[in-house]
């Protein structure tokens, strides 16, 4: 137990059930809101809380809802459960241990936006999270919390569980919408934004799991109480996932503005095997890497991270110990982005593959100084030249790894081998 919004109960074999969620006070706020509040009042609470999207982009949730026309006859809601940003494993925890918290949050959003049909787009690989969410939907339906005339309020909403099929890019909201329409997951040009023209050209809101699952807490304890937690500009708590070379990897609910070094060195037990810290990727694999010296004094909020040249992203902190080969580690990432580029935009499709082939050549000991020069140049042709952010996401690690660990890349192309022993795991 480590936080008020999510990790407030002991995880047991039954803590995901409706009975236990109700015992924790679940659905009380929803039943009250459906009785006493208008949709606009629910939306106003979400906005007043200052809650921001937890998928990575950090857009204001209440504002996103407000963009939807009040006169639209049909509005769709999609919960984005395509959790796939490397380093991120928080949404999965919510589905496995508190799926009703997500459902209640979705119902609040659906009520505020007057949504009749909502969708839970879940990545195709998920097994237990899928079963837990399906179980929760069945329980909620049987209890009259889902479907026609919820709790006798006259409000009706169904939630369809929709499985993806293995595509990182479908976590991008317009790509998710295309995927939900049965198409390839190509991202769409914006504007128009989904709030104007989304699923089947109807106004659509796409929100992350953690974002929606926070709403019941706000509606139970009040927007003001939520706004008081963490940093004023970006309030609340977040589920930070710590992975990589730490003694105790795991998930920690902490207020925004929490010290990054404390999360790594104390909460996650410090660096594996007593080694020294080399670098941290602070917000999922797409965010620029920081050196051990750079994380001193940093806090987990957008302002602090921006000053350091990185981002909070999805709250996924990937820790790298001294002795790790940064060239081989970057190639792991470049392979991933080349694999996941959807193929729509030429700069990303060709560029990610090109960067990966160069890095493959370098780690095979066959790279040249010219390869390294090309690798430095390629991101400038990709970034800002694509429909979605995947091209930027693929480029940022390349730029930041070479900027901060350039001597390792130079050593590799000069000597044909790693400056370290080349291993990634201890």
């Amino acid at each position: 137990m480590s936080g008020p919004v999510f990790m407030s109960f002991p995880v047991t074999a039954t803590s995901h059930t409706l009975a236990e969620y109700r015992a924790r006070g679940g659905y009380v706020a929803l039943e009250r809101a459906l009785r006493e509040m208008t949709p606009a009042q629910v939306g106003a609470q979400a906005k007043a809380s200052g809650l921001q999207g937890r998928g990575g982009a950090g857009f204001q949730t209440g504002l996103k809802w407000e963009f939807v026309s009040k006169d639209a006859p049909v509005v769709y809601l999609c919960c984005n459960i395509d959790e796939g940003e490397p380093g991120t494993f928080k949404d999965r925890w919510i589905l496995e241990h508190s799926p009703h918290q997500l459902l209640e949050g979705m119902l609040f959003a659906a009520y505020a936006l007057r949504v009749r049909h909502a969708f839970a787009y879940i990545r195709g690989e998920f097994d237990l999270p899928l079963r837990r969410l399906q179980g929760a939907l069945d329980e909620a339906r049987a209890a009259g919390l889902l479907g026609e005339n919820i709790c006798g309020s006259g409000f009706s909403c169904d939630i369809v569980l929709h499985r993806g099929a293995g595509a990182y890019v479908c976590g991008e909201e317009s790509s998710l919408i295309n995927s939900l329409e049965g198409k390839k997951g190509f991202p769409r040009n914006k504007p128009p934004f989904p709030a104007v023209r989304g699923l089947y050209q109807k106004p659509t809101v796409v929100n992350n799991v953690e974002t929606l699952a926070t709403v019941p807490w706000i509606m139970t304890h009040g927007a003001a109480a939520y706004a008081e937690m963490g940093i004023k500009k970006t309030p609340g708590t977040r589920l930070f996932g710590v992975s990589g070379h730490v003694e105790q990897p795991g998930l920690f609910e902490r207020p925004t503005g929490y010290p990054l070094a404390q999360l790594i060195m104390q909460d996650a037990g410090g660096i594996l095997g007593g080694r020294k810290l080399k670098a941290v990727i602070p917000g999922g694999s797409s965010t620029p890497i920081l050196t051990a010296a750079e994380i001193e004094g940093l806090t987990l909020d957008p302002e602090s991270m921006t000053r350091a040249g990185s981002m909070v992203g999805s709250g996924a902190v990937i820790v790298i110990a001294e002795g790790t080969c940064m060239v081989r580690l970057l190639q792991v990432l470049s392979r991933f982005y080349a694999h996941e580029s959807c193929g729509q935009c030429t700069p990303c499709r060709e560029g990610t593959d090109w960067m990966n082939r160069i890095l493959e050549r370098i780690v095979a000991g066959q790279g040249t100084a010219a390869d390294l020069a090309t690798l430095r140049r390629l991101p400038t042709g990709i970034m800002g030249n694509t429909v979605c952010a995947l091209g930027d996401a693929a480029s940022m690690p390349v730029v930041s790894f070479i900027k901060k660990f350039g001597h390792e890349f130079e050593h590799f192309v000069t000597h044909g081998r790693s400056l370290h022993d080349g291993r990634l795991a201890p």
Binding site: G84, V160, A167, G182, K183, S243, L329, R335
Partner: protein
């Protein structure tokens, strides 16, 4: 050309169709492709064409989805498909050792199936198991915090 869909499969198709509003019929593409793969273990192009006929939409769009999404297999797979994550967090916690151990133990490379048709070995990208890395899936089931001894136990426990 595989045989037409079985009546049992069509019952499952109808159940899926009833979940979506009628104006959203093309949303059935992924659910039906999953349904066929769960039943047969793989999905052929002919299956995709028949799914399109069932939905009432252009076949090319279903074929496109079949070939674009990485979770759909177009050929028969081993009875147990092992998918080893090789992304960053798993790499930092030893996924290269996991893969090497499985290759040695099964005597096959990545993308191959054992001669007895029992195992197919694949690599995948992030499974969202970064806090419990290294991880792999055997068919749908997640296995996490892997080491050589645990891998041996998992392989031996499979019926």
């Amino acid at each position: 050309m595989s045989a037409a869909f079985t009546p049992a499969l069509l019952v499952r198709f109808d159940a899926l169709r009833s979940q979506y509003p009628p104006e959203m019929k093309t949303s059935l593409v992924l659910p039906l492709l999953h349904c066929v793969q769960d039943e047969q273990g793989f999905v052929t192009e002919a299956d995709a064409v028949r799914i399109a006929e069932y939905i009432g939409m252009p076949a090319i769009q279903v074929v496109e989805a079949l070939t674009w999404y990485t979770m759909f297999d177009r050929e028969p797979q081993g009875r147990y498909v092992i998918k080893v994550c090789r992304n960053i967090a798993c790499s930092l916690r030893g996924s290269e050792n996991v893969l090497a151990h499985l290759q040695q133990k099964l005597g096959i490379g990545v993308g191959e199936t054992t001669a007895d048709g029992r195992f197919t070995l694949k690599t995948v990208e992030c499974l969202a198991s970064c806090g419990t890395a290294p991880a792999m899936q055997v068919n749908r089931t997640y296995h996490e915090q892997l080491d050589a001894a645990k891998l041996d136990r998992i392989l031996e426990s499979l019926p």
